[in-house]
Protein backbone atom coordinates (compact mmCIF):
# COMPACT_ATOMS: atom_id res chain seq x y z
CA UNK A 1 0.00 0.00 0.00
CA UNK A 2 2.81 2.32 0.93
CA UNK A 3 4.59 1.61 -2.34
CA UNK A 4 1.42 2.40 -4.22
CA UNK A 5 1.04 5.75 -2.49
CA UNK A 6 4.68 6.55 -2.99
CA UNK A 7 4.30 5.82 -6.69
CA UNK A 8 1.26 8.08 -6.89
CA UNK A 9 3.20 10.78 -5.10
CA UNK A 10 6.09 10.39 -7.52
CA UNK A 11 3.76 10.50 -10.49
CA UNK A 12 2.22 13.70 -9.17
CA UNK A 13 5.71 15.09 -8.94
CA UNK A 14 6.42 14.11 -12.54
CA UNK A 15 3.17 15.53 -13.76
CA UNK A 16 4.17 18.82 -12.23
CA UNK A 17 7.43 18.85 -14.08
CA UNK A 18 6.04 17.51 -17.33
CA UNK A 19 3.35 20.13 -17.18
CA UNK A 20 6.07 22.73 -17.14
CA UNK A 21 7.85 21.07 -19.98
CA UNK A 22 4.70 21.15 -22.06
CA UNK A 23 4.21 24.81 -21.39
CA UNK A 24 7.79 25.40 -22.27
CA UNK A 25 7.13 23.74 -25.55
CA UNK A 26 4.29 26.09 -26.29
CA UNK A 27 6.07 29.08 -24.98
CA UNK A 28 9.58 28.91 -26.32
CA UNK A 29 9.07 26.25 -28.98
CA UNK A 30 11.65 24.03 -27.34
CA UNK A 31 10.99 20.36 -27.10
CA UNK A 32 12.33 19.63 -23.66
CA UNK A 33 12.60 15.90 -24.20
CA UNK A 34 14.81 15.99 -27.25
CA UNK A 35 15.81 19.53 -26.52
CA UNK A 36 18.91 18.77 -24.52
CA UNK A 37 20.79 18.00 -27.72
CA UNK A 38 19.21 20.42 -30.12
CA UNK A 39 19.11 23.47 -27.90
CA UNK A 40 20.94 26.63 -28.75
CA UNK A 41 23.44 27.75 -26.07
CA UNK A 42 21.10 30.53 -25.10
CA UNK A 43 18.15 28.23 -24.61
CA UNK A 44 20.33 25.78 -22.77
CA UNK A 45 21.32 28.55 -20.41
CA UNK A 46 17.70 29.44 -19.80
CA UNK A 47 16.70 25.86 -19.24
CA UNK A 48 19.53 24.70 -17.01
CA UNK A 49 20.69 27.83 -15.23
CA UNK A 50 17.40 29.57 -14.77
CA UNK A 51 14.47 27.19 -14.98
CA UNK A 52 15.84 23.96 -13.65
CA UNK A 53 17.27 25.41 -10.41
CA UNK A 54 14.11 27.39 -9.98
CA UNK A 55 11.91 24.34 -10.41
CA UNK A 56 14.03 22.31 -8.02
CA UNK A 57 13.99 25.15 -5.56
CA UNK A 58 10.22 25.52 -5.83
CA UNK A 59 9.94 21.80 -5.15
CA UNK A 60 12.11 22.01 -2.06
CA UNK A 61 10.28 25.01 -0.66
CA UNK A 62 6.87 23.50 -1.38
CA UNK A 63 7.86 20.25 0.29
CA UNK A 64 9.34 22.01 3.31
CA UNK A 65 6.29 24.17 3.86
CA UNK A 66 3.88 21.25 3.46
CA UNK A 67 5.87 19.11 5.86
CA UNK A 68 5.89 21.98 8.32
CA UNK A 69 2.13 22.25 7.97
CA UNK A 70 1.55 18.56 8.59
CA UNK A 71 3.77 18.47 11.64
CA UNK A 72 2.45 21.63 13.28
CA UNK A 73 -1.18 20.71 12.64
CA UNK A 74 -0.63 17.35 14.28
CA UNK A 75 1.62 18.52 17.06
CA UNK A 76 -0.54 21.45 18.10
CA UNK A 77 -3.64 19.41 17.35
CA UNK A 78 -5.10 22.35 15.49
CA UNK A 79 -6.26 22.05 11.88
CA UNK A 80 -5.70 25.76 11.32
CA UNK A 81 -2.03 25.64 12.23
CA UNK A 82 0.47 26.30 9.45
CA UNK A 83 4.25 26.34 9.26
CA UNK A 84 4.21 29.98 10.24
CA UNK A 85 2.23 29.67 13.46
CA UNK A 86 5.30 29.90 15.61
CA UNK A 87 6.27 33.26 14.18
CA UNK A 88 8.72 32.01 11.58
CA UNK A 89 7.19 34.21 8.89
CA UNK A 90 7.17 37.37 10.94
CA UNK A 91 10.66 36.81 12.27
CA UNK A 92 12.25 36.05 8.96
CA UNK A 93 10.40 38.92 7.27
CA UNK A 94 11.73 41.32 9.87
CA UNK A 95 15.22 39.91 9.42
CA UNK A 96 14.98 40.24 5.65
CA UNK A 97 13.63 43.77 5.82
CA UNK A 98 16.42 44.78 8.14
CA UNK A 99 18.80 43.22 5.64
CA UNK A 100 17.29 45.11 2.70
CA UNK A 101 17.41 48.40 4.56
CA UNK A 102 21.01 48.09 5.69
CA UNK A 103 21.96 46.84 2.23
CA UNK A 104 22.94 43.30 3.17
CA UNK A 105 21.88 42.11 -0.26
CA UNK A 106 25.33 43.00 -1.56
CA UNK A 107 26.84 40.25 0.59
CA UNK A 108 26.70 36.60 -0.30
CA UNK A 109 23.69 35.01 1.46
CA UNK A 110 23.22 38.31 3.29
CA UNK A 111 19.46 38.50 3.33
CA UNK A 112 18.66 34.80 3.67
CA UNK A 113 21.05 34.59 6.58
CA UNK A 114 19.46 37.52 8.38
CA UNK A 115 16.00 36.15 7.65
CA UNK A 116 17.05 32.78 9.00
CA UNK A 117 18.40 34.33 12.19
CA UNK A 118 15.21 36.33 12.54
CA UNK A 119 13.11 33.19 12.16
CA UNK A 120 15.06 31.19 14.72
CA UNK A 121 15.15 34.07 17.20
CA UNK A 122 11.38 34.34 16.89
CA UNK A 123 10.77 30.64 17.42
CA UNK A 124 12.93 30.84 20.49
CA UNK A 125 11.03 33.89 21.69
CA UNK A 126 7.69 32.15 21.16
CA UNK A 127 9.01 29.12 22.99
CA UNK A 128 10.04 31.23 25.97
CA UNK A 129 6.79 33.21 26.02
CA UNK A 130 4.85 29.94 26.00
CA UNK A 131 6.79 28.86 29.06
CA UNK A 132 8.57 26.01 27.31
CA UNK A 133 11.72 26.53 29.33
CA UNK A 134 9.95 26.00 32.62
CA UNK A 135 7.62 23.10 32.26
CA UNK A 136 5.74 20.96 29.80
CA UNK A 137 4.82 22.58 26.50
CA UNK A 138 1.12 23.26 26.28
CA UNK A 139 -0.12 23.42 22.70
CA UNK A 140 -2.50 26.26 23.34
CA UNK A 141 0.03 28.52 24.97
CA UNK A 142 2.47 27.77 22.17
CA UNK A 143 -0.17 28.58 19.57
CA UNK A 144 -1.31 31.74 21.32
CA UNK A 145 2.15 33.12 21.88
CA UNK A 146 2.91 32.40 18.22
CA UNK A 147 -0.14 34.41 17.20
CA UNK A 148 0.76 37.26 19.52
CA UNK A 149 4.38 37.43 18.38
CA UNK A 150 3.29 37.29 14.74
CA UNK A 151 0.84 40.13 15.27
CA UNK A 152 3.51 42.22 16.91
CA UNK A 153 5.90 41.55 14.05
CA UNK A 154 3.33 42.46 11.40
CA UNK A 155 3.00 45.80 13.09
CA UNK A 156 6.77 46.21 13.00
CA UNK A 157 6.83 45.23 9.33
CA UNK A 158 4.14 47.77 8.48
CA UNK A 159 6.13 50.38 10.33
CA UNK A 160 9.22 49.64 8.25
CA UNK A 161 7.20 49.59 5.05
CA UNK A 162 6.00 53.11 5.75
CA UNK A 163 9.46 54.55 6.27
CA UNK A 164 11.51 52.95 3.46
CA UNK A 165 12.03 54.41 -0.03
CA UNK A 166 10.17 53.08 -3.03
CA UNK A 167 12.98 50.89 -4.39
CA UNK A 168 13.39 49.13 -1.08
CA UNK A 169 9.63 48.96 -0.78
CA UNK A 170 9.45 47.04 -4.03
CA UNK A 171 12.00 44.44 -3.04
CA UNK A 172 10.50 44.08 0.43
CA UNK A 173 7.04 43.59 -1.00
CA UNK A 174 8.36 40.99 -3.39
CA UNK A 175 10.10 39.21 -0.58
CA UNK A 176 6.98 39.29 1.56
CA UNK A 177 4.94 37.64 -1.17
CA UNK A 178 7.48 34.98 -1.95
CA UNK A 179 10.00 34.89 -4.75
CA UNK A 180 11.69 31.76 -6.02
CA UNK A 181 13.92 33.35 -8.62
CA UNK A 182 16.91 34.28 -6.54
CA UNK A 183 18.23 30.96 -5.34
CA UNK A 184 21.64 29.79 -6.56
CA UNK A 185 22.66 26.15 -6.88
CA UNK A 186 24.64 26.39 -3.65
CA UNK A 187 21.67 27.66 -1.69
CA UNK A 188 19.46 25.06 -3.29
CA UNK A 189 21.71 22.19 -2.34
CA UNK A 190 21.91 23.55 1.19
CA UNK A 191 18.11 23.68 1.41
CA UNK A 192 17.90 20.21 -0.14
CA UNK A 193 20.20 18.74 2.49
CA UNK A 194 18.22 20.39 5.28
CA UNK A 195 14.95 19.13 3.86
CA UNK A 196 16.23 15.62 3.35
CA UNK A 197 17.72 15.18 6.83
CA UNK A 198 14.75 16.94 8.37
CA UNK A 199 12.36 14.66 6.56
CA UNK A 200 14.16 11.54 7.75
CA UNK A 201 14.03 12.71 11.35
CA UNK A 202 10.39 13.74 11.12
CA UNK A 203 9.44 10.56 9.33
CA UNK A 204 10.87 8.53 12.19
CA UNK A 205 8.27 10.24 14.38
CA UNK A 206 5.38 9.56 12.02
CA UNK A 207 3.68 6.97 14.18
CA UNK A 208 4.18 9.11 17.23
CA UNK A 209 2.42 11.92 15.40
CA UNK A 210 -0.51 9.59 14.76
CA UNK A 211 -0.75 8.97 18.47
CA UNK A 212 -0.32 12.62 19.42
CA UNK A 213 -3.26 13.46 17.19
CA UNK A 214 -5.32 11.09 19.36
CA UNK A 215 -4.55 13.30 22.33
CA UNK A 216 -1.43 13.66 24.41
CA UNK A 217 -2.80 11.45 27.13
CA UNK A 218 -3.41 8.60 24.69
CA UNK A 219 0.05 9.05 23.20
CA UNK A 220 1.49 8.83 26.68
CA UNK A 221 -0.57 5.72 27.47
CA UNK A 222 0.68 4.00 24.36
CA UNK A 223 4.28 4.68 25.12
CA UNK A 224 5.26 7.97 23.48
CA UNK A 225 7.76 10.08 25.37
CA UNK A 226 5.75 13.12 24.53
CA UNK A 227 7.85 16.01 25.74
CA UNK A 228 10.97 14.80 24.00
CA UNK A 229 9.09 14.05 20.80
CA UNK A 230 7.51 17.48 20.75
CA UNK A 231 10.77 19.27 21.36
CA UNK A 232 12.52 17.31 18.64
CA UNK A 233 9.73 17.96 16.15
CA UNK A 234 9.56 21.63 17.07
CA UNK A 235 13.26 22.13 16.49
CA UNK A 236 13.58 20.12 13.27
CA UNK A 237 10.41 21.48 11.70
CA UNK A 238 11.25 25.06 12.59
CA UNK A 239 14.67 24.60 11.04
CA UNK A 240 13.49 23.29 7.69
CA UNK A 241 10.72 25.88 7.49
CA UNK A 242 13.08 28.66 8.45
CA UNK A 243 15.54 27.59 5.76
CA UNK A 244 12.81 27.56 3.12
CA UNK A 245 11.29 30.85 4.21
CA UNK A 246 14.58 32.67 4.53
CA UNK A 247 15.48 31.84 0.92
CA UNK A 248 12.08 32.06 -0.73
CA UNK A 249 10.16 34.59 1.30
CA UNK A 250 6.71 34.03 2.68
CA UNK A 251 4.59 31.84 0.48
CA UNK A 252 1.22 31.49 2.07
CA UNK A 253 -1.42 28.78 2.06
CA UNK A 254 0.72 25.88 0.87
CA UNK A 255 1.54 24.80 4.39
CA UNK A 256 -2.03 24.92 5.58
CA UNK A 257 -3.75 23.69 2.46
CA UNK A 258 -1.65 20.79 1.22
CA UNK A 259 -1.94 18.74 4.43
CA UNK A 260 -5.73 19.05 4.39
CA UNK A 261 -5.99 18.10 0.72
CA UNK A 262 -3.78 15.08 1.28
CA UNK A 263 -5.73 14.06 4.36
CA UNK A 264 -8.92 14.06 2.33
CA UNK A 265 -7.34 11.79 -0.26
CA UNK A 266 -4.98 9.57 1.69
CA UNK A 267 -6.33 9.59 5.25
CA UNK A 268 -4.62 10.78 8.38
CA UNK A 269 -1.86 8.22 8.84
CA UNK A 270 1.30 10.31 9.00
CA UNK A 271 3.43 7.57 7.56
CA UNK A 272 1.65 8.28 4.30
CA UNK A 273 0.66 11.83 4.94
CA UNK A 274 4.20 13.10 5.44
CA UNK A 275 5.68 11.83 2.16
CA UNK A 276 2.62 12.52 0.00
CA UNK A 277 2.27 16.01 1.44
CA UNK A 278 5.91 16.74 0.77
CA UNK A 279 5.63 15.47 -2.79
CA UNK A 280 2.35 17.17 -3.51
CA UNK A 281 3.48 20.40 -1.89
CA UNK A 282 6.52 20.31 -4.13
CA UNK A 283 4.46 19.74 -7.28
CA UNK A 284 1.92 22.33 -6.27
CA UNK A 285 4.48 25.06 -5.77
CA UNK A 286 6.20 24.18 -9.05
CA UNK A 287 2.88 24.61 -10.85
CA UNK A 288 2.09 27.80 -8.99
CA UNK A 289 5.48 29.23 -9.79
CA UNK A 290 5.09 28.34 -13.44
CA UNK A 291 1.79 30.17 -13.49
CA UNK A 292 3.40 33.11 -11.77
CA UNK A 293 5.94 33.29 -14.58
CA UNK A 294 3.37 32.91 -17.33
CA UNK A 295 0.43 35.05 -16.39
CA UNK A 296 2.11 38.40 -16.95
CA UNK A 297 5.00 37.15 -19.10
CA UNK A 298 7.59 38.50 -19.55
CA UNK A 299 6.93 40.17 -16.18
CA UNK A 300 6.44 37.97 -13.14
CA UNK A 301 3.91 37.73 -10.37
CA UNK A 302 5.09 36.88 -6.88
CA UNK A 303 4.30 33.20 -6.45
CA UNK A 304 2.61 33.92 -3.12
CA UNK A 305 -0.13 35.70 -5.02
CA UNK A 306 -0.92 32.55 -6.98
CA UNK A 307 -0.90 30.25 -3.96
CA UNK A 308 -3.10 32.61 -2.00
CA UNK A 309 -5.45 33.07 -4.95
CA UNK A 310 -5.87 29.32 -5.27
CA UNK A 311 -5.62 28.65 -1.58
CA UNK A 312 -8.17 30.98 -0.09
CA UNK A 313 -11.18 29.82 -2.16
CA UNK A 314 -10.16 26.23 -1.66
CA UNK A 315 -10.02 26.78 2.03
CA UNK A 316 -13.49 28.25 2.10
CA UNK A 317 -14.69 25.25 0.12
CA UNK A 318 -13.08 22.96 2.68
CA UNK A 319 -14.68 24.80 5.58
CA UNK A 320 -18.08 24.65 3.90
CA UNK A 321 -17.75 20.99 3.07
CA UNK A 322 -17.04 19.83 6.54
CA UNK A 323 -15.96 21.47 9.72
CA UNK A 324 -12.35 20.40 9.19
Amino acid sequence: MFVLFLAIGLISLCVGSVHIDLINVLKSLVNAFTGTISLSPQEELILFSVRLPRIIFAGIVGASLSLGGVVFQAMLRNPLADPYVLGISGGSALGAIAGIIIGASSFYLGIPLLAFCGALATVFLVFVVAGGTRGPLLDNSLLLSGVVVNAFFSAAILFFLSIVNSLELHSITFWLMGDLSRASFKEISLAAICLFTGFLIIYAQARKLNLIVQGEETALHLGVNIERTKQLLLIVTSLITAVAVSMAGIIGFIGIMVPHMMRLVFGSDHRLLLPVSALFGASFLVIADTLARLVLAPAELPVGVITALCGAPYFIFLLKRKSL
Partner: protein
Amino acid sequence: MSIISAQNINFSYATKPIMEDVSLVIDEAQIVAIIGPNGSGKTTLLKIINGTLFPDSGQMLIDGKDTRLWPRQEIAKTVAIVPQETASIFSFYAEEIVLMGRFPRLSNYRFENKKDYRIVHEAMEKTDTLAFANRRFDELSAGERQRVLIARALAQEPKILLLDESTVFLDLKHQMQFLALLRQLNVTQNLTVMFVTHDINLAAQHAGRIILLYCGKNYAIGKPAEVITAANIKEVYDVDVLIDQNPQSGLPRMTLIT
Protein backbone atom coordinates in the same frame (compact mmCIF):
# COMPACT_ATOMS: atom_id res chain seq x y z
CA MET B 1 3.59 -12.80 42.86
CA SER B 2 2.42 -9.23 43.20
CA ILE B 3 2.37 -7.43 39.88
CA ILE B 4 1.12 -4.09 41.15
CA SER B 5 2.24 -2.78 44.47
CA ALA B 6 1.57 0.70 45.79
CA GLN B 7 3.38 1.84 48.88
CA ASN B 8 2.09 4.82 50.84
CA ILE B 9 1.19 6.83 47.78
CA ASN B 10 0.37 10.51 48.13
CA PHE B 11 -0.68 12.58 45.15
CA SER B 12 -2.16 16.02 44.65
CA TYR B 13 -3.11 18.21 41.71
CA ALA B 14 -1.62 21.60 42.60
CA THR B 15 -2.67 21.91 46.23
CA LYS B 16 -5.71 19.65 46.18
CA PRO B 17 -4.80 16.26 47.62
CA ILE B 18 -6.21 13.38 45.57
CA MET B 19 -4.53 10.34 47.07
CA GLU B 20 -3.55 10.09 50.69
CA ASP B 21 -1.34 7.31 51.89
CA VAL B 22 -2.75 4.65 49.61
CA SER B 23 -1.13 1.24 49.76
CA LEU B 24 -2.27 -1.84 47.93
CA VAL B 25 -0.93 -5.06 46.52
CA ILE B 26 -2.46 -6.78 43.51
CA ASP B 27 -1.37 -10.27 42.57
CA GLU B 28 -0.94 -11.42 39.03
CA ALA B 29 -4.01 -12.66 37.18
CA GLN B 30 -6.54 -11.05 39.44
CA ILE B 31 -9.64 -9.17 38.41
CA VAL B 32 -9.98 -6.11 40.57
CA ALA B 33 -12.75 -3.54 40.60
CA ILE B 34 -12.18 0.01 41.80
CA ILE B 35 -15.30 1.71 43.08
CA GLY B 36 -15.93 4.95 44.90
CA PRO B 37 -17.86 8.20 44.62
CA ASN B 38 -17.01 10.96 42.11
CA GLY B 39 -13.69 12.59 42.81
CA SER B 40 -12.50 9.79 45.06
CA GLY B 41 -9.36 9.33 42.95
CA LYS B 42 -10.27 6.28 40.85
CA THR B 43 -8.98 7.58 37.54
CA THR B 44 -5.96 9.13 39.22
CA LEU B 45 -5.09 5.75 40.67
CA LEU B 46 -5.22 4.19 37.19
CA LYS B 47 -2.95 6.90 35.84
CA ILE B 48 -0.48 6.35 38.64
CA ILE B 49 -0.49 2.64 37.91
CA ASN B 50 0.29 3.12 34.24
CA GLY B 51 2.97 5.65 35.01
CA THR B 52 1.46 8.71 33.34
CA LEU B 53 1.31 10.34 36.76
CA PHE B 54 3.91 9.85 39.44
CA PRO B 55 3.13 9.87 43.15
CA ASP B 56 4.39 12.89 45.10
CA SER B 57 5.65 10.52 47.73
CA GLY B 58 5.62 6.77 48.08
CA GLN B 59 6.25 4.24 45.37
CA MET B 60 4.24 2.53 42.67
CA LEU B 61 5.86 -0.71 41.65
CA ILE B 62 4.86 -2.53 38.47
CA ASP B 63 6.43 -5.96 38.16
CA GLY B 64 8.61 -4.98 41.10
CA LYS B 65 9.99 -1.87 39.37
CA ASP B 66 9.21 1.76 40.23
CA THR B 67 7.13 3.44 37.51
CA ARG B 68 9.59 6.35 37.49
CA LEU B 69 12.25 3.97 36.19
CA TRP B 70 10.16 2.49 33.39
CA PRO B 71 10.77 3.97 29.93
CA ARG B 72 7.39 4.94 28.45
CA GLN B 73 7.55 2.51 25.59
CA GLU B 74 8.40 -0.37 27.93
CA ILE B 75 5.58 0.29 30.36
CA ALA B 76 3.15 0.47 27.43
CA LYS B 77 4.05 -3.14 26.64
CA THR B 78 3.06 -4.16 30.15
CA VAL B 79 0.19 -1.88 31.06
CA ALA B 80 -2.64 -0.92 28.71
CA ILE B 81 -5.41 1.47 29.60
CA VAL B 82 -8.80 1.96 28.00
CA PRO B 83 -9.67 5.62 28.55
CA GLN B 84 -13.21 6.91 28.95
CA GLU B 85 -13.17 8.79 25.67
CA THR B 86 -10.62 10.11 23.23
CA ALA B 87 -10.94 13.02 20.87
CA SER B 88 -8.92 12.98 17.69
CA ILE B 89 -8.85 16.13 15.60
CA PHE B 90 -8.34 14.29 12.31
CA SER B 91 -10.34 11.24 11.47
CA PHE B 92 -8.82 7.79 11.41
CA TYR B 93 -10.30 4.44 10.46
CA ALA B 94 -11.21 2.11 13.30
CA GLU B 95 -8.60 -0.38 12.17
CA GLU B 96 -5.92 2.32 12.19
CA ILE B 97 -6.84 3.12 15.77
CA VAL B 98 -6.43 -0.51 16.78
CA LEU B 99 -3.14 -0.74 14.89
CA MET B 100 -1.87 2.08 17.05
CA GLY B 101 -1.93 -0.37 19.91
CA ARG B 102 1.07 -2.01 18.27
CA PHE B 103 3.08 1.19 18.67
CA PRO B 104 5.09 0.20 21.75
CA ARG B 105 6.17 -3.02 20.05
CA LEU B 106 7.46 -1.50 16.82
CA SER B 107 10.59 0.46 16.09
CA ASN B 108 10.48 3.85 14.38
CA TYR B 109 10.76 3.01 10.70
CA ARG B 110 8.99 -0.34 10.77
CA PHE B 111 5.57 -0.95 9.38
CA GLU B 112 3.21 -3.46 10.92
CA ASN B 113 3.85 -6.94 9.59
CA LYS B 114 1.55 -9.94 9.19
CA LYS B 115 1.86 -10.86 12.84
CA ASP B 116 0.78 -7.37 13.92
CA TYR B 117 -2.18 -7.50 11.57
CA ARG B 118 -3.12 -10.91 12.90
CA ILE B 119 -3.03 -9.67 16.49
CA VAL B 120 -5.10 -6.64 15.53
CA HIS B 121 -7.55 -8.86 13.66
CA GLU B 122 -7.91 -11.11 16.69
CA ALA B 123 -8.38 -8.17 19.04
CA MET B 124 -11.11 -6.81 16.78
CA GLU B 125 -12.73 -10.20 16.50
CA LYS B 126 -12.86 -10.57 20.27
CA THR B 127 -14.41 -7.14 20.72
CA ASP B 128 -16.86 -7.63 17.84
CA THR B 129 -15.49 -4.61 15.99
CA LEU B 130 -14.39 -6.20 12.71
CA ALA B 131 -17.63 -5.13 11.08
CA PHE B 132 -16.63 -1.48 11.23
CA ALA B 133 -12.90 -1.82 10.75
CA ASN B 134 -13.10 0.38 7.68
CA ARG B 135 -15.39 3.00 9.08
CA ARG B 136 -14.19 6.26 10.49
CA PHE B 137 -13.66 6.19 14.22
CA ASP B 138 -15.41 9.51 14.87
CA GLU B 139 -18.52 8.33 13.04
CA LEU B 140 -19.05 5.34 15.34
CA SER B 141 -21.40 5.35 18.31
CA ALA B 142 -19.98 5.77 21.80
CA GLY B 143 -20.27 2.06 22.55
CA GLU B 144 -18.64 1.08 19.27
CA ARG B 145 -15.82 3.54 19.89
CA GLN B 146 -15.32 2.09 23.34
CA ARG B 147 -15.01 -1.40 21.89
CA VAL B 148 -12.45 -0.16 19.36
CA LEU B 149 -10.43 1.33 22.21
CA ILE B 150 -10.67 -1.97 24.08
CA ALA B 151 -9.37 -3.72 20.96
CA ARG B 152 -6.50 -1.24 20.82
CA ALA B 153 -5.58 -2.02 24.41
CA LEU B 154 -5.70 -5.77 23.68
CA ALA B 155 -3.44 -5.23 20.66
CA GLN B 156 -0.81 -3.96 23.05
CA GLU B 157 -0.67 -7.49 24.48
CA PRO B 158 -0.42 -6.16 28.01
CA LYS B 159 0.02 -8.04 31.27
CA ILE B 160 -2.15 -5.52 33.05
CA LEU B 161 -5.33 -4.08 31.55
CA LEU B 162 -6.80 -0.95 33.12
CA LEU B 163 -10.37 0.02 32.26
CA ASP B 164 -11.86 3.38 33.08
CA GLU B 165 -15.64 2.91 33.12
CA SER B 166 -15.41 0.97 29.89
CA THR B 167 -18.78 -0.73 30.24
CA VAL B 168 -20.82 2.45 30.56
CA PHE B 169 -21.63 2.81 26.87
CA LEU B 170 -21.90 -0.89 26.09
CA ASP B 171 -25.27 -2.49 25.53
CA LEU B 172 -26.17 -5.54 27.59
CA LYS B 173 -25.00 -8.09 25.05
CA HIS B 174 -21.63 -6.43 24.51
CA GLN B 175 -21.26 -5.89 28.23
CA MET B 176 -21.67 -9.62 28.86
CA GLN B 177 -19.43 -10.46 25.93
CA PHE B 178 -16.77 -8.11 27.18
CA LEU B 179 -16.84 -9.37 30.75
CA ALA B 180 -16.67 -12.96 29.50
CA LEU B 181 -13.67 -11.96 27.36
CA LEU B 182 -11.95 -10.42 30.37
CA ARG B 183 -12.44 -13.59 32.37
CA GLN B 184 -11.21 -15.71 29.50
CA LEU B 185 -8.05 -13.62 29.04
CA ASN B 186 -7.60 -13.64 32.76
CA VAL B 187 -7.62 -17.43 32.82
CA THR B 188 -5.79 -18.22 29.58
CA GLN B 189 -3.20 -15.45 29.53
CA ASN B 190 -2.90 -14.56 33.20
CA LEU B 191 -4.07 -11.04 32.38
CA THR B 192 -4.44 -8.82 35.40
CA VAL B 193 -7.50 -6.61 35.06
CA MET B 194 -8.38 -3.51 37.04
CA PHE B 195 -11.59 -1.76 36.18
CA VAL B 196 -13.15 1.40 37.48
CA THR B 197 -16.92 1.31 37.61
CA HIS B 198 -19.89 2.98 39.22
CA ASP B 199 -21.94 -0.17 38.88
CA ILE B 200 -21.48 -1.83 42.24
CA ASN B 201 -23.40 -4.94 41.28
CA LEU B 202 -21.22 -5.37 38.23
CA ALA B 203 -18.14 -5.06 40.42
CA ALA B 204 -19.50 -7.57 42.92
CA GLN B 205 -20.31 -10.08 40.20
CA HIS B 206 -17.16 -9.97 38.18
CA ALA B 207 -14.26 -8.89 40.35
CA GLY B 208 -12.30 -11.19 42.60
CA ARG B 209 -11.34 -8.23 44.72
CA ILE B 210 -12.81 -4.80 45.18
CA ILE B 211 -11.05 -1.59 46.13
CA LEU B 212 -13.33 1.02 47.63
CA LEU B 213 -11.83 4.49 47.44
CA TYR B 214 -13.16 7.33 49.53
CA CYS B 215 -11.69 10.84 49.64
CA GLY B 216 -8.37 9.69 48.23
CA LYS B 217 -8.06 6.95 50.81
CA ASN B 218 -8.15 3.24 50.37
CA TYR B 219 -11.33 2.82 52.42
CA ALA B 220 -11.74 -0.91 52.01
CA ILE B 221 -10.13 -3.66 49.97
CA GLY B 222 -11.04 -7.31 49.83
CA LYS B 223 -13.45 -9.89 48.49
CA PRO B 224 -16.82 -8.57 47.30
CA ALA B 225 -18.60 -9.85 50.37
CA GLU B 226 -16.14 -8.04 52.61
CA VAL B 227 -16.33 -4.68 50.84
CA ILE B 228 -19.93 -4.50 49.65
CA THR B 229 -21.67 -4.08 52.96
CA ALA B 230 -24.56 -1.81 53.79
CA ALA B 231 -22.42 -0.03 56.37
CA ASN B 232 -19.59 0.72 53.91
CA ILE B 233 -21.95 1.96 51.23
CA LYS B 234 -23.79 4.15 53.71
CA GLU B 235 -20.53 5.66 54.94
CA VAL B 236 -18.97 6.26 51.52
CA TYR B 237 -21.94 7.06 49.29
CA ASP B 238 -24.35 8.27 51.94
CA VAL B 239 -27.19 6.14 50.62
CA ASP B 240 -29.19 3.40 52.28
CA VAL B 241 -28.97 0.06 50.56
CA LEU B 242 -30.10 -3.46 51.04
CA ILE B 243 -27.49 -6.14 50.51
CA ASP B 244 -28.57 -9.70 49.82
CA GLN B 245 -27.21 -12.52 47.73
CA ASN B 246 -27.41 -12.90 44.00
CA PRO B 247 -29.56 -16.02 43.55
CA GLN B 248 -27.34 -17.32 40.78
CA SER B 249 -23.81 -16.71 42.05
CA GLY B 250 -24.28 -16.20 45.77
CA LEU B 251 -22.26 -12.99 45.53
CA PRO B 252 -23.47 -9.81 47.22
CA ARG B 253 -26.28 -7.95 45.48
CA MET B 254 -27.17 -4.38 46.24
CA THR B 255 -30.58 -2.80 46.04
CA LEU B 256 -31.16 0.89 46.62
CA ILE B 257 -33.76 1.58 49.30
CA THR B 258 -36.10 4.26 48.06
